[in-house]
Subunit: 475 residues, 3 copies
């Protein structure tokens, strides 16, 4: 394999270097490159590696050609991503990382940049916040609503609004909302464990685009205050520019170390009058404290519904947590309405899903979104099997209507935590197990549907007695 990949990578970069001069050359590259890439499908280089090689090359081209060159790299990368046969799973390389010395923000790429089949959730973004023990995440506001779940660690978050402030003590499983435009800061009050928080992000200004607004003075990131002209800052704060310069130049990074004393002082602090405009967050709710809605020795599932917590109501978003014991699996089921964005706080296993949209997109046509346009006779629907290995760090999407099974590994329990988009009135519909929907059909219906004596069909459908969670496959 190495043998193949090296010449390929080499050839490609060569092509690129030949290709940065005239538009004609660029167009040739188009075709040659596409051709080249398909002829190299076997090569071990990942699309990401190819992308990096491409970008590095661009840095060596003439300044005026760089933008075109860079754009080309991106287009190629996206073209390959589109070929991607599992657009429902995301790994490390699909995140943008904003680093600080003692913590980081990891923001998932736009869903639509990954696949047109995720356009239904493209108004959302997804991300993780991580802060080391005994640290302070400096105040910032966002042009987005944040729905947050604590995945690990203990912390305290403070929200500042013009009408008042509020502090929330956080532990694993806590769910809370940060309304758009709220200035918020966080401390990790634990001496040893880092705090990790998952964010469902709903931008309010530009769909799919949002930014961090760091106000408190400092560098890396710069405070937005420094963007204003000195004379405006002087007039606004009634302080001369030298003092302001000093004031805004001290801090380094957006997650800073805090001393045990500082942590104690901040965590003891009562925290806020808690005046809120109606329809916005007042409290937190902890999903681990919910009673399981389904439970047996193979697993259990917990739900937080949009109406269980005020801040969810206008978003119509819920949260679900499934635990499967090692060697067990969920039943085969689908969600009637919801799209789920899921993470794996702990454990290992895999999910298998039947995906009809992908099958029809195998052809260029529908990959361009023209699938069933015009009078083209569409072959009857087919379903593609999509299997995703589950482990901490993976993010996967379960679209509505798509039948799926979640399987825990044989040596570890599996924990799956999901944001449930469009949660209101969603129903999990079991396709196997004691409560599978087929059992509601009349005998004649079963006969016609399966073209088999109904007794035979029924004996198959009634064989598995367990509901929701059951013994997994041997292997």
């Amino acid at each position: 394999m190495e043998k193949i990949s090296i010449p390929c990578g080499f050839l490609w970069v060569l092509l690129l270097s030949l290709a940065s001069f005239t538009a004609i050359a660029i167009d040739t590259r188009d075709a040659k490159l596409t051709k080249y890439i398909s002829s190299c499908e076997v090569n071990p280089q990942s699309p990401e590696e190819r992308y990096r090689a491409c970008q590095q090359h661009c840095e060596r081209t003439q300044l005026q050609h760089r933008p075109q060159c860079r754009q080309k790299c991106i287009d190629e990368y996206r073209k390959e991503q589109r070929k991607d046969d599992n657009p429902y799973a995301f790994e490390e390389q699909h995140f943008t990382t904003i680093k600080s010395q003692h913590g980081r923000l990891r923001i998932l790429q736009k869903f639509l940049d990954r696949s047109k089949f995720l356009s239904g959730i493209d108004k959302y973004r997804f991300g993780f916040l991580e802060a080391e023990p005994y640290t302070f995440f400096v105040p910032a506001h966002y042009d987005a609503d944040l729905l947050c779940i604590v995945l690990r660690g203990r912390g305290k978050v403070t929200l500042l609004r013009s009408k008042g402030s509020e502090s929330l003590n956080l532990q694993k499983g806590d769910i809370y909302r940060i309304p758009a435009g709220t200035t918020v800061y966080l401390i990790n009050i634990d001496k040893r464990e880092k705090v990790e928080i998952a964010w469902l992000i709903q931008p309010i200004s530009t769909p799919g685009e949002f930014k961090e607004f760091f106000g408190a003075g400092g560098e890396n990131p710069k405070s937005f205050l420094k963007t204003f002209s000195p004379e405006l800052l002087e007039a606004a704060f009634k302080v001369n520019r030298d003092r302001l310069q000093e004031w805004l130049g001290q801090r380094e990074g957006f997650v800073v170390k805090a001393s045990e004393e500082q942590i104690r002082a901040l965590s003891d602090h009562a925290g806020g009058k808690g005046l809120w405009p109606s329809g916005e967050s007042k409290r937190t709710i902890n999903i681990l404290r919910q009673r399981p809605i389904h439970s047996n020795k193979y697993g259990e599932i917990r739900d937080v519904k949009p109406d269980d917590l005020e801040p969810f109501q206008d978003l119509n978003v819920g949260v679900a947590l499934a635990n499967m014991t090692q060697g067990a699996m969920s039943t085969m089921f689908f969600n009637s309405k919801s799209t789920k964005i899921c993470v794996v706080p702990n454990g290992e296993g895999y999910i298998q899903m039947a995906c009809p949209h992908l099958s029809s997109s195998s052809s260029e046509e529908s990959e361009q979104g023209h699938g069933d346009g015009g009078f083209i006779d569409q072959s009857n629907p087919g379903y593609v099997q999509v299997t995703t290995r589950l482990r901490p760090g993976i993010v996967f999407i379960a679209p509505p209507g798509h039948p799926l099974v979640m399987v825990a590994s044989n040596n570890q329990n599996l924990e799956v935590l999901c944001f449930v988009i469009n949660a209101r009135n969603n129903e999990r519909t079991p396709l196997a197990g004691g409560n599978n929907i087929w059992n509601q059909m009349e005998e004649v219906g079963l006969e016609l549907a399966f073209n088999m004596p109904s007794e035979e069909v029924k004996s198959i459908l009634k064989s598995q007695k367990k509901e929701w969670f059951m013994k997994g496959p041997r292997s």
Copy 2:
């Protein structure tokens, strides 16, 4: 004409064959082809014929070039469609057909694929279900909400949810909803007449994209169950793979013949506990049983408002049915808010409509959606006359604000059935007839508006006494 068309078609295919090798050639084709096509506008070949010729040609090109070639055919087709001077009417060739031996699904192309002026309804799809006498449409669910109207025939539909099931007896004019993720099956209980049902489809996963999920075992379509690995199926159903294979391999097609006994058994069956989550379908309503809101000897119109039937409420969709007697026509009117998607269950005639958006899109610029971008001085608005022949099988769109007249032929009554998108608070505004809005204006207003003595204007506006429906034109 033939004389012209043959060399053109020939030339074109020739060009294509020359053009499948290098990117440069492909780009040349771009221009040459466009040029060619415009120079051949006179030729009798329909865009569809040209499209087929193009696709056939691609099959003969080298494998690696086929995707590009196919894409090119589609682009050319769409380009021609865009030139299309009536984007508000759809015929046979604009449907995708999913065939089974005893029935079929016909799904209309995406509205946006037809014209940017339909982007307002692009989150919807439209389609027809047809099943022959004494047949069974096998269970399936959809990642879309379906709003259904029975156009002809008698049937019985059963809806399965995890919380229960429900059966509805269907006859012409019945309106009902199938909530997303509901498993549904249908029987045609009539010995002679086929059942035909119109669907307004609202995808919930990917806007404008939806799929059929056929669960019950079989081929053509394959059951989605077959997508899962054997070991998972075994674990889920607790049945060995040979029996499962057999179980899932019997049925052929998604609309199967049923015996008289089977039909009787199914139609007699009581049908379901009818447990529903709030906000979803409980009942059906029949538009033929509504009292006409306007009626005279020339025609009548019936309405079902979003609040008349629970399942409509959250969709803000209504239904309207207009009947015009032969030789009659509707008044000239427009809808204040609604976009109507209409079919013609019976009869013949035509609709004439004044379309301002098309006039401004005559230039390339606004066809690209740049119409009034920038500082380009827009000529004052103009209106294009769009006339569509009405007959069963036609689907047409009436956008809000667009003045129109519907005319029945002289030898048949005309029936027009419409899904009313954004129906709440819509008003039909009559521009002619006894109740035309001009009659509300003060005399001086009429004087200034028409620059004519108000008496003269009033005598014109009062000449036609009939309201809503009136005698049509002679011809």
Copy 3:
């Protein structure tokens, strides 16, 4: 400068003329043009001038090449616009003008045509209506909802619906709504002053696209009635075509002069039964009559909230009016949720804003919307300073979360009037002045946030005592 610009303009047109023949040439033009333009960034020609030169050139090319040529001009213009470092301000050249002899409509380009960062408000359009003293704006309806504010002058508007009509007397500061599909006409009842009205337009048919439907007979614009076939008009109005021709051919222009008598007759007229469907406009509200929510000697601000006026409720749009006395400025603040579309009825000054989205779009990648796609490590956020001179005629956008300061000139008061999109629960968050949010932080928080003794931080934050409005910078 002139020296540079002339050869550039010349070169460019030359290139274009060479470039209109084969696809290859056209592609070359692509690159050469782009290159040319970047090499000419210094030249004084405005993008608009370049655009006009380009369009004029196209008129001289062969007919068959014109569409491509024209499209190219537009693409180049848009490409330059995208480079535009302040997409939040609009001037004369960004409007489309529809002229009549005694008045005009000025419609702002689509927001998305200006910048992807305005996609959040792209479903809206914006415009101005102007009518000279003693004139009549002829009846028309629109496939859009209009939210209107009178900027100057006095008038009377009459709204016609099938269910009734209503007249509203208008003066400066009046806010009212014209529901989609309402036929409306207006008189300027003042002998000297023209009437000017700002429109927030929400198209209901095609997002971002709307049209004027002029019904009353006449030329320039033609009445849409003239679009229909003579036989249909005869049947609809029961009047022979000669009389109809005459009826529909009299008026010239859509804003016509009216005599003092006509004006008096119209303004005296009682006006309408005022029957309205629920959820639509019943009244007007005047923002000048609202009590200021904040006020001191440096300025004051008035609000109309979505729930203050029935027609606002379903749109969730409000209106805000800020007045700053000469030499004063607003505090530094941001809006938590709203996007504001603002005009300057009177006065001069400037606005300074911190814009993080622009900073990340400096690279081609994110200009294409791929900014944080994939695994590209995003540099920590930066903020671009955007300063816009304010004067009558300017339209500017204030996105949510973006910190800004408005400054009045030293010799004139500044008036800023804004439509507030997504107004419900919006909070203005002050970053400076007596009530700045930092003052809510605990001492240790301030210490860590600014990495400075909290006493020092507090003394800076408490130095400026004024709230909301304060003394501006010297210069």
